[in-house]
Symmetry: C2
Subunit: 902 residues, 2 copies
């Protein structure tokens, strides 16, 4: 701040005139020392041991960023009671503090009374520099000047800082300075009145350098979470401290940042990654200032912030002209008169001259704030009027149950809520992983945002067939080197899981027809289409997407009824699979009736650990033979019954069926299924749309299962969770079956945005992020699996509750089936509704699958965070009304196919 | 540049010692005046009349930006013969020129000989400031110092500027200064040698202010295209001028920008929107420098540029530590020793001290450049090995025909090409609109890129069902206020055209079943599913996407064969439509046999203008009655033949069938079709995936047709062409048919990324951009239609060529069907291959639909640009071998359904 040093030269004593009108928060007994003593009142700087030495290595920094407190993003409730803005600078020394002081002055001089919190979270060069002090004193001086002829005028007193009221997390560094005053004004309403002014500094360091460097040199480290908590607490307590009398009057809160927008905070995290609030950008009117203002603006917008206005000092270069042109007049630009360069100038004239500009800026801020609130309030109603949500019976969603999402950061949404009559923005853990797509922590989200800008600017979208461009090629390389490693050699892109499946089916059928000589017979005219009925082999409870082709490959369910899709016929042989789950702390395998056998001992169906369930040693046990016979028998019976029908593909979701009710299939059963099909030259399709990319603790579920497909489909988590993209990976042999001399032999399937650059860019980035131990702290030492994210003791406790039927916990997924029956079970069940609402109140955004609730985190989410969330679930389940659950209900019922969906 | 003013104080005469070794380009006869006379040699500044006063209005600026020369983006070939980098500054005064000089010095001192072009396109403060002169003299001084003891040393001479060799476009402002030298060195190879050094300024102004302001004050306006052309020409001629002797040695080209990255150029366009090249960012080592360096870096990356390295002056603040952490070590950061602040210091010591850093920087640049080239060279092969392109018979695409796309800007790709043995990046007009999705000009592309960053950072992806967030709601409002205006009230989001169609069919069938009492009978058990066969009414030649449900709604084609999709059965009643096209300068209607009637006079089938074809006056003519009877007859016959079959929906692509061969259906026929269906309570679906958003000159094709659907599908151009998103819009009546008390009555269809924030953000932006006359200069005065983009005279000339069957030109589309027959016609035809290759050589990236070629621009593309491209097509068609075309072929054949596709 260019003026702050100079300001210390104009210290004048101010006498306390209005002690009798102070609010109780402020101690009227404290005599006000002359302003020249300000520094003496400040708390001594605490000196902590220096933090561990900062490393240049991106690896360790990234790990710290993701595992540390910065990963959780916005961790505080934020009330919307008052306009709250961050004051950003396009550089250091552009006048952020002058603008802040101007805003306070404008509030003080406004016709209606108001209260103002000026907050400087990070101050360096302290105590000789104190922006809080400067702002406080400037306003004092302005009033003194304005009211010098008026004996009734109330000038701001200066009081010692109140006792610290910060949460425990912020206690490490107490606020070093705070200046408070009550009732500044003439007493004439139309002359303005400031009910309360608080100018507060949270953390301060001696040297006038960047906070991260000050920490390194002076100690007193502050974590991001502690800093955010302290800021949040300060913002909240200011409003609460005003008392009822001042409700309804104008209240202001501004947070002045330190340095430029991307200057590091004390932990090294850039400040623009710390404060997620609307902002005012103090630009630069000097030569070069257009550029630095635009770049700073872009750094803020590419972090998802709203820049409400730009303001800067006029330097005679008309920088506002290109700025307004760049901003297309959508963001107002304010130009302040030149700041006097004479150090003896006390700036009072300048502030008077600028008063109307600050008033206009304030009007802009007020209208932004009130429009934002109006919009947030109206969104529920508008949404119900014009949106058509998928999988939603609109009649069952009253307006009050609509969730208004203001933003997302890492694993959490921020939602708009009215709580105890107060409007708030509160965080909610996105426990449905926004339908299983989410992976990014807040650091990756920021990186992806930058990459999305890069990719859109560099490529937009370009033609893919017969062409190549870096993102499409690179993403294919990353896929084939990861989930495709050891088997796949080709990448076919599409838009979502459903299209990836349709493509996989077309591929598999061609391969089957070729391998079995049917294609040749067909081409020779020996066989007609009518004599060849192709079907898939699949499992009950499966789900592959909602387009017709994908639906035809799944067993009948709620989605496939005549009501939903009159064209569905179910072109598959659907087997009933054995499923596995934890109940009473033990992994159980539940067999369908047709697989019950007296050859099986109970110990073959019970396991103390998940590793035992997956163990390949089981392949030689009796159960393996039983599975094998069961599959063979069904295949033979099917071909006997309809000789023209061919099973042209096996399609399974490996390990876990998602939309089918988070059912884990006995992995041994799926391994045998794959083997039986490959023995018969039936191409095997793995639908890894849900299970891929560490969802289940390994990069692919195929890896977990221990066998390889011919074709596999990926989507959802593939792009890290920002954008739709799908890929169907295949072996070279499958690809070969489409080669020929005619285009008509080629795979004639595609979508407009095939291999779109943004999707491929984000996928390549996210996949590498998840599999790199320098960015994903959850990887085990070999980098092959995720460490346990869900506390096993807690999982076992839940699995033993009387109202719980089954639990599965692996990788990023923890699912719990509530005991229920009749219409309380299944897809349309509203059984879990009250539980869901309670958990949302707890900050956990659950979306149930009927009577199944689940938590889903990202591959990089910390185990601590997961366990905190799971604990909330445990508590609520304990309290959940289980009166309707019959004790007699057996676990075997868990094997019944649940018709359940997203 | 912090040092440039000081440098003028150290002017020393340098004598010419090596004139005998000068290359012919340089005039050895010109005596070299002392350096103090530099300024005298420069061309006087030309003073042009000041440009029209700049307006603050975003509207006029935007219109200027889109209609002006900046809209066309990269308009020059760029060779890859030498590393070519832009030197960017994170602010003004950070030392760009010192870095440039350091790079020249490092090249001169490198063990192998090299040539160096230093280019300063824009210089202000001239002639007292000249960065070209500074760089030239610094290198001279360094050599003088280094070689002071060596009489054989060759010092750089200083010569008058060569005669201007700029293209006509750049002639407005001739280069004001140029310094050239040949052969600088000791003669010892290992001591380094600079074959040739050229330091050149292109445009200069007196006042030391931003170029845009200098133009305003001094005149000498320079357009973006002229500037780019001048830069391109200069880069190219430097390499060509080196002659063969120096081929294979190291050649360097650097372009030093003026001010900061986002400082405006002479036209007001930001410099970061002008130079699309890899860059070196000169950062800032001072307090605040971390922030300004990061923000500048972000402004470059969000424009799709590669920043190869960051370099800055050490100020003792260790700014490299947070910078490296931010960059995750992926971009090297170089720290230069502190620059002496003493004005008498000639910096020679500093340059010597920095030499190793500049060498390292240079190594980084060389390895970036060579890795880039290696990658570009290897991409074709890699693409053929691991990608699986849609709609492509890989055996028909040899490696040399693969197109490597380096980037996209507005309407054009930049592709990698080897031309006459030289590697180039050359622009190609994306005439296939990257499969019909493209809308953005370069200005919109930059805005969308920024918005994509904002949206990814603010929302990532969040849960949609039962929720609402700004982009999803806003996009729905924009859709319903535009293409849905007057009929639609609900927006259902999905991922692409195919899914939007599947959803539309499910909606239509439900509505039909409800309206006709079938749903009630079904629920009561009176009717079983087996007794209700639902079909669509559709047209031959239609196409709605590649997922099974969408395919079932289209007539048999190449895509639907048993080879492609064994599950296809074609669940429709498919009518043969009359089509319309230009032939011999006249719009004709071609009727299928079944519609031929002796009641029709020839004049009913010929029109002099497109408006006449669309005229609603035709609704009362005989032809309307004939159409109506034809449709009724088919519907009656169909229901007689199979009483259990119901026509549950009409589905058409309004006005033009895209993948079916760019066939325009007689709009009267489609109007009658809609009327007949609505009379029978058959829901009408418009597939506007291809036709929507001004593709055909109106915001929707429904508007053009003059009738409204019950359901319509949108995708492709909807997001402006950067990202997949689709929307199915419906009337409230359709929505109502899914209401009820059970979730099972709801529409159970959805995709993971439903209503993803980036898609909705870009859609809302693009739709508004296209329909706003301040950003779209092509709108007519009412803002209702696009002005003609294709020169009608030229279109008529093409329609009269003997080898042309038909032409259609409306909105952004101009399609031409070549006369051909047998295997030369239809989807698999390779008939147009040679024409396509020729046009690609001309810079027009055509992708044919069999024997149909087409050009497709964006809604904002200028008519001039379109006509230039169409002229190339005209020329090539004139030359095209038409030997195989039979003169006897009649136009009636054009009505045969073409089995043709993307």
């Amino acid at each position: 701040m260019v003026r702050k040093k100079r300001s210390t030269k104009h210290q004048r004593p101010i006498s306390l005139r209005s002690a009798q009108r102070l609010t109780p928060l402020i101690n009227p007994a404290a005599a006000m020392p002359p302003l020249s003593c300000f520094a003496l009142l400040l708390r001594p700087l605490r000196r902590l041991p220096p933090p561990r030495s900062r490393s240049l290595s991106s690896a360790s920094d990234a790990a710290a960023a993701t595992s540390g407190d910065s990963a959780s993003g916005p961790d505080l409730d934020m009330d919307l009671a008052a306009p709250t803005f961050t004051i950003w600078g396009s550089n250091t020394g552009v006048g952020k503090t002058l603008v802040s002081a101007g805003l306070v002055a404008a509030a003080a001089l406004a016709p209606s009374p108001s209260s103002f919190l000026y907050l400087k979270p990070l101050q360096t060069g302290f105590p000789s520099d104190s922006d809080s002090r400067f702002v406080f004193r400037t306003v004092s001086s302005l009033f003194r000047r304005r009211l010098s002829g008026d004996p009734a005028a109330r000038l701001p007193p200066r009081l010692p800082p109140p006792p610290p009221r910060l949460p425990a997390a912020a206690a490490a560094a107490e606020p070093p300075s705070s200046y408070e005053a009550a009732r500044i004004g003439t007493g004439e309403r139309d002359d303005g009145e400031l009910n309360k002014l608080v100018c507060k500094t949270l953390y301060a360091w001696n040297e006038a350098i960047s906070p991260h460097l000050a920490v390194e040199r002076e100690g007193m480290a502050v974590g991001d979470a502690a800093l955010r908590a302290a800021v949040g607490s300060c913002l909240g307590s200011f409003v609460r401290g005003l008392g009822d009398e001042w409700k309804g009057t104008r209240v202001w809160r501004v947070i002045e940042t330190a340095g430029g927008v991307a200057s590091p905070g004390p932990s090294g995290t850039l400040q623009c990654d710390l404060y997620r609030l609307p902002g005012i950008l103090v630009g630069d009117g000097r030569l070069g200032g257009i550029s630095s203002t635009i770049s700073a603006y872009e750094s803020l917008t590419m972090r998802g912030y709203d820049v409400t206005a730009v303001i800067f000092e006029d330097n005679g270069l008309s920088n506002e002209v290109p700025l307004l042109s760049y901003l297309r007049n959508r963001v107002p630009v304010f130009v302040l008169p030149p700041i006097p360069k004479d150090p003896s100038n006390d700036l009072m004239e300048w502030f008077c001259e600028s008063a109307s500009i600050f008033s206009s800026l304030q009007e802009t801020m007020i209208s932004f704030h009130s429009e934002r609130i109006q919009r947030l309030r109206s969104m529920k109603r508008k949404a119900r009027n014009i949106l058509w949500w998928p999988f939603t019976q609109h009649d069952l969603v009253p307006e009050e149950l609509v969730t208004v999402i203001d933003s997302r950061c890492g694993e959490s949404f921020s939602i708009h809520k009215v709580r105890h009559g107060e409007e708030m923005i509160v965080p909610q853990f996105d426990a449905c992983g926004s339908w299983w797509t989410q992976g990014p922590d807040s650091t990756l989200q920021t990186e992806l945002a930058r990459d999305m800008g890069y990719s859109a600017a560099r490529y937009g979208h370009v033609m893919f067939p017969e062409n190549v461009y870096e993102p499409a090629l690179h993403c294919a390389e990353v896929l084939l080197g990861g989930v495709g490693k050891g088997w796949a050699s080709r990448t076919f892109y599409s838009d979502n899981g459903s299209t990836a499946i349709e493509i996989a089916l077309k591929m598999a059928f061609r391969k089957y027809l070729l391998d079995h000589g049917i294609l040749l017979d067909y081409e020779k005219g020996i066989l007609s289409e009518r004599c060849i009925q192709l079907k898939v082999l699949a499992l009950n409870g499966s789900y592959h997407g909602d387009t017709l082709g994908a639906m035809e490959a799944q067993a009948p369910s709620s989605y496939t009824t005549f009501l939903q899709q009159p064209w569905y016929s179910g072109r598959g042989l659907f087997l009933q699979p054995p499923i596995t789950f934890i109940s009473n702390e033990i992994w159980n395998i539940s067999l369908p009736d047709s697989l019950q056998s007296n050859q099986l001992k109970p110990e073959n169906l019970r396991f103390s650990s998940l590793d035992d369930v997956f163990s390949q040693c089981r392949d030689s046990l009796a159960i393996a033979r039983i599975y094998s016979e069961y599959i063979s028998e069904h295949l033979s019976k099917h071909s006997e019954l309809s000789p023209s029908t061919h099973i042209g593909a096996l399609i399974v979701e490996p390990v876990v069926q998602g939309a089918g009710g988070m059912r884990m299939i006995d992995p041994l059963f799926q391994r045998i299924l794959v083997k039986e099909c490959q023995n018969r030259k039936i191409p095997v399709i793995f639908d890894e749309v849900f299970t891929g990319f560490w969802r289940l603790g390994r990069e692919s579920a195929a890896e977990l299962l221990g066998c390889l497909p011919d074709i596999a489909c990926y989507a959802k988590l593939m792009t890290g969770g920002v954008i739709p993209l799908a890929a169907t990976l295949t072996t070279e042999a499958v690809f070969e079956s489409f080669r020929g001399d005619s285009k008509l032999m080629a795979l004639l399937h595609g979508h407009s945005y095939t291999a779109h650059a943004m999707g491929c860019t984000s996928a390549a980035k996210a996949i590498q992020w998840f599999r790199d131990s320098s960015t994903n702290p959850n990887l085990d030492c070999e980098g092959k699996r995720l460490n346990e994210l869900w506390d096993l003791t807690l999982v076992h406790k839940i699995s033993s509750l009387p109202n719980i039927k089954r639990v599965i916990a692996l990788g990023t997924l923890c699912a719990v089936e509530l005991k229920s029956e009749g219409s309380d079970a299944g897809y349309a069940s509203l059984y879990a509704s009250s539980l869901v609402q309670q958990l949302r109140e707890d900050g956990v955004y659950i979306r149930p699958l009927g009577n199944i609730i689940y938590l889903m985190c990202g591959p990089c989410t910390s185990a601590d965070f997961c366990t905190q969330q799971l604990h909330k679930v445990y508590q609520r389940i304990c309290d959940f009304d289980c009166g309707r659950v019959k004790e007699s209900e057996s676990h075997e019922n868990a094997s019944e196919p649940q018709i359940i969906a997203a």
